[in-house]
């Protein structure tokens, strides 16, 4: 029991004294996962909206693929991104393996299907006649799409949160393509794994508390979105 209480005590001290290493790791995590989420947002929302609003042969298969992609195992993504970025791999010339850019890349691959799948569902859940109503108000196609995206803004926020939540908490891909290099590619999850294996439970716990707080914040927003009323 002592080990837990002592760990929590140390963790709180580390957090409140703004330990530079903890702060550095947290900041890098937020930056890397934030950029990855932003890129996945651009791709995911536009492709998701497009698929939601169009009919084409093979659409069902595309939707199934996107939904499957929502559950991509990070280690699999890590493996493929590593192969691509390996010295003699297809993108080896970029020489970005074991850099934060490589982590961003892997995390983007993980987050994009999540954002895409939720956007697709969000746009599809809007009332069927809403599109006709917007066109009847004199909107161009572009104006219509923009209004629909605005109408789905809260579920889309949920998409962002889910994407961010997915990548900030994954460890497999980050450790494989980033390498957990101190002060360079060490993020919250990879640091937690390492500190735990070294027996430094205080730091591991401080990092975990930060992750938990982020998870709590994300879930609070998602719950709020889920519980709200629809306009008539």
């Amino acid at each position: 029991m002592d080990i837990i209480i002592e760990g929590i005590k140390q963790a709180v001290i580390l957090l409140f004294t703004l330990d530079p290493e903890v702060i550095g790791i947290t900041w890098l995590s937020l930056k890397v996962s934030g950029i990855a989420t932003f890129i996945s947002l651009l791709i995911g929302v536009s492709v998701g909206t497009l698929v939601a609003l169009t009919q084409f042969p093979g659409r069902r298969i595309v939707v199934s693929l996107i939904n499957t992609g929502m559950g991509l195992p990070p280690v699999v993504v890590g493996l493929f991104v590593t192969i691509f970025l390996w010295r003699n791999g297809p993108l080896g010339f970029l020489e970005i393996l074991y850099t934060p850019t490589a982590i961003i890349m892997a995390q983007t691959v993980i987050a994009t299907p999540i954002v895409m799948g939720i956007s697709l569902a969000a746009i599809q859940q809007l009332p069927a006649n809403l599109r006709l109503q917007i066109l009847a108000l004199g909107a161009t196609r572009l104006q219509m799409v923009w209004i629909l995206v605005k109408e789905a803004r809260l579920p889309l926020l949920a998409a962002i949160m889910a994407g961010f939540g997915g990548v900030i908490s994954e460890v497999g891909a980050s450790i494989m393509v980033g390498g957990n290099i101190k002060g360079y590619t060490r993020v919250l999850t990879t640091a937690t794994v390492m500190e735990t294996s070294k027996g430094n439970f205080d730091i591991a716990m401080a990092l975990s508390i930060i992750l938990l707080l982020l998870a709590f914040f994300i879930n609070a927003v998602l719950t709020h979105v889920q519980q709200r009323e629809r306009p008539r």
Binding site: N129, L132, L137, G138, A139, T140, E151, R153, E229, R232
Partner: protein, 371 residues
């Protein structure tokens, strides 16, 4: 009556879904400034016709002509749509305030901000929702939401407004007051209206013309009294019901009742209406009694008319009898009663019905204009 030029015409309009024809209209002309009601059972093609006419549903064949311009050839669908507005059964409001909802069509058209504010305020006021301007559309009652939807449609000052069963999900009192507001604004602004409804009373009250639809086709189109009283076939007859629908002008107001002149004869109905006002009187056949005696025979009914039997139509367990009292009147008799009276076409009968048995529809007075 000057029926005016058609603002909108559809020629040989066809819509197919999965190879099956859901709409097949050889010709439809909608007179400018008038209200056309489409009535018919579910699946009759009312909504499809509204959507096809507003170019929101792709028609597989045919042409739509707006003010003489053919849509899709010398007038683009987009330009055409900018003259229209649409109100659906569901209010379909945007997730923002009532004000922003009503402003939506204007903002889409890039109308200047102070102009938007002025117009929106005007229409909020007209539909009695000025006090809700800053309320979220999520927190409205059904009636308030549909008022907002109507205000949004009228705010763009459309030349034609399409209404797809706009009142059918509202409770009767809400429906009544909203219909009154819609009627006044349609008349005042002289907006051409095309409304789908399955409610005959709604259609009678709002329309200048009624089109009865079935299986994607228009079975009959004409002024309400004509369609109601002279259905062209059995389907129309069974759908519009067998009620007698009379139009007349109020000539006198009595205590609790008023007298209406119908085809030169005087009918007394219960309620309040001012002399000069146009009203529609609906009389259900089961409320009309017939006898062979003279009109002077004592009866509690206020309306007693001598009549001639025009037609006797067997309808299962009873007979439907069409009478001519100077105006058409329909009644039901049992087989027994028919034999008792030895009823035959061309015979004279006395028809009577109570003043309380008349359902009165008051038409809003039209603002006098050049027409």
């Amino acid at each position: 009556m000057n029926s005016g030029k058609s603002i909108l015409e559809a020629k040989n309009l066809q819509v197919k879904r999965g190879g099956v024809s859901v709409l097949d209209i050889s010709y439809l002309g909608v007179p400018e400034g008038k209200v056309l009601c489409l009535i018919g059972p579910n699946g009759a093609g009312k909504s499809s016709l509204l959507l096809a006419l507003s170019c929101l549903l792709k028609s597989s064949q045919g042409e739509i002509i707006f003010r003489g311009k053919r849509i899709g050839s010398n007038y683009s669908v987009f330009d055409y749509r900018r003259n229209l507005a649409m109100v659906f059964q569901e209010p379909l409001l945007f997730d923002t305030t009532v004000f922003e909802n009503v402003a939506a069509g204007l903002k889409i058209r890039n109308v200047k901000r102070d102009e938007v504010k002025r117009i929106v305020e005007e229409y909020l006021e007209r539909f009695g929702i000025g006090h809700l301007a800053n309320r979220s559309a999520r927190k409205l009652s059904g009636g308030e939401a549909q008022r907002t939807s109507l205000a949004r449609a009228f705010a763009i000052r459309p030349e034609i407004i399409f209404l797809d069963e706009p009142f059918s999900s509202l409770d009767p009192p809400t429906r009544e007051s909203l219909m009154g507001d819609l009627e006044s604004i349609l008349r005042e602004t002289r907006t051409t209206g095309i409304m789908a409804t399955h409610d005959q009373m709604e259609a009678l009250r709002l329309s200048d013309q009624i089109a009865v639809m079935n299986e994607g086709k228009i079975m009959q189109i004409g002024p309400p009294a004509e369609v109601m009283n002279h259905p062209v076939d059995e389907f129309v007859a069974s759908f519009v019901g067998t009620e007698t629908i009379l139009t007349g002008k109020v000539i006198r107001r009595n205590a609790g009742t008023f007298s209406v002149s119908v085809a030169g004869r005087e009918v007394e109905a219960v309620g309040d209406a001012s002399p000069g006002e146009s009203v529609i009187l609906c009389i259900r056949p089961e409320n009309v009694t017939v006898s062979t005696g003279s009109s002077k025979e004592i009866t509690s009914a206020r309306n007693v008319f001598s009549s001639v039997v025009k037609r006797i139509i067997p309808s299962g367990t009873f007979y439907k009898v069409e009478l001519d009292c100077g105006f058409p009147l329909v009644t039901y008799v049992t087989n027994h009663a028919r034999e008792d009276l030895s009823m035959h076409e061309g015979m004279d009968l006395t028809a009577s019905f109570k003043a309380t048995a008349i359902h009165v529809i008051r038409k809003k007075l039209l603002p006098s204009s050049g027409e």
